[in-house]
């Protein structure tokens, strides 16, 4: 009898079975549809294993997955390391050549704040609402970073919402962008910005770190690592470190990030009506962020003769570079010789920094 009691099969609950189905769906989407496979595959598998009974894998102080989660995410190690890699992959050139595009990246953060207020009116606490709102920033590591500090019980749901919607950017954004722009606006060809020299690119990560961290100190863990990665890249003297940050280190921490996030998603945490609201509000946040970016571009066009194609405002939600690709595709649909990709990278990158700043502001106000 004792042996039977220790067999997991008799401890399976209906909730666990539902979680298995969710896990298999994510694994299917990752493999067949290639929806963010680097994350959804380990997340999906993590969910499956975390919902097998009697494993004690998430037992505090004891379980293997708990250790990954505790030291990787609770200790804030992994999201900043991902940011190191992102910094090493980022070319600030498109942003520096047209600094006014920063405003579009900032405008898209309106999605984060509007959703924050919407979520509080649905009865979420301020900490939960902030975590849900940040989904609209379309930045996975920032969402996880903030969730771990403010609302760890929502971490799994918010991370899965953020990564799923990022994969769905090509479906979510175009209708919003089409609705808000005319054919003529989508055909606007933008004037090239000036060329950016190597020295400017070198100084930018240093100057931006100092300015952003002085203004919002709580954003320091993510911003400092992001800018360090970028400094590696632009210094051109530590190619080995740039390469490690971009590739091997990023791949290693991605494994632990995905697995830990998946492991937090047990039936008790995830199968709640709140989670449906989280997915709904997260989608709302994405759409509002897309809309506010486009609308600000149209407003800016009222005051300048050097017109902005308002489509690029849609790239202000981070989702690098998916949102920029959507802009390129929609621009080329209207005029096949119009290439908006590099212009869209400006607000896209500004959006990443904007989301980190938004998270830093939430932390300052709520922690």
């Amino acid at each position: 009898m004792a042996v039977l009691e220790h067999m997991g099969i008799f401890a399976v609950t209906p909730g666990m079975v539902v979680m298995w189905l969710i896990s298999l769906t994510l694994i299917y989407l990752a493999i067949s549809k290639k929806y963010e496979p680097l994350l959804l595959l380990p997340i999906g598998f993590g969910i499956l294993i975390a919902n097998l009974p009697l494993t004690h894998l998430m037992e505090p102080g004891e379980g293997l997955f708990w250790r990954f989660y505790h030291y990787g995410i609770e200790w804030e190690v992994i999201p900043p390391l991902i940011f190191l890699g992102l910094g090493a992959l980022t070319d600030f050139g498109p942003l520096l050549s047209q600094p006014r595009l920063i405003f579009l990246g900032a405008a898209a953060q309106a999605g984060v704040y509007i959703t924050f207020f919407a979520a509080t009116s649905f009865g979420f606490t301020l900490e939960e609402a902030a975590t849900i709102g940040i989904i609209g920033g379309a930045d996975g590591p920032t969402t996880i970073f903030l969730a771990a500090k403010l609302a760890p019980h929502l971490l799994g749901a918010c991370a899965v919402a953020a990564y799923s919607y990022m994969a769905l950017v090509p479906i979510i954004q175009p209708p919003v962008m089409r609705l808000l722009t005319t054919g003529n606006e989508r055909r606007i060809r933008m004037k090239k910005g000036r060329k950016i020299g190597a020295r400017e690119k070198l100084f930018f990560p240093i100057a931006a770190s100092v300015v952003v961290i002085l203004l919002v100190p709580a954003s320091a863990p993510l911003i400092s690592m992001f800018m360090l990665g970028n400094l590696f890249r632009e210094s051109k003297v530590v190619e080995r470190l740039t390469d490690a940050a971009q590739n091997s280190l990023m791949n290693i921490v991605t494994i632990f990030l995905g697995l830990s996030v998946g492991a937090t998603m047990n039936a008790g945490n995830f199968l709640r009506t709140e989670v449906i609201f989280i997915f709904f509000l997260g989608l709302f946040a994405f759409m509002i962020g897309t809309a506010t970016g486009v609308i600000l571009a149209k407003i800016m066009n009222l005051f300048t003769s050097n017109k902005i194609n308002p489509l690029i405002g849609g790239a202000g939600v981070s989702a690098v570079p998916m949102a920029a690709r959507v802009v390129q595709r929609m621009g080329a649909e209207a005029d096949k010789k119009n290439h908006l990709l590099m212009f869209a990278m400006g607000p896209n990158i500004a959006g990443v920094i904007g989301t980190v700043i938004a998270a830093g502001i939430f932390l300052t106000l709520l922690k």
Partner: protein, 71 residues
């Protein structure tokens, strides 16, 4: 009159669709440039014959580099 085909954006040459001597019409696809994992076609700016192709598959190009010349 010779006209240059310029790279519309920076990236890598993914595909060269024409050869020297081919005649092209305006808006024919001459190259496909890969940037940020997107394949972006580069079209002929005018009618004519390709007299020169200056890049090959896999080359990295900067915005406004001359890729080919049409006579």
């Amino acid at each position: 009159m010779a006209q240059e085909v310029l790279a519309a954006l920076s990236g890598n040459i993914w595909k060269v669709c024409m050869e020297v001597g081919d005649s092209v019409e305006e808006d024919d696809e001459i190259f496909v440039v890969e940037a940020l994992k997107m394949e972006i076609p580069i079209y002929a700016p005018c009618d004519g014959t390709i007299s020169e192709i200056r890049v090959k598959k896999g080359d990295a190009v900067e915005e406004d580099d001359v890729l080919a010349v049409i006579d």
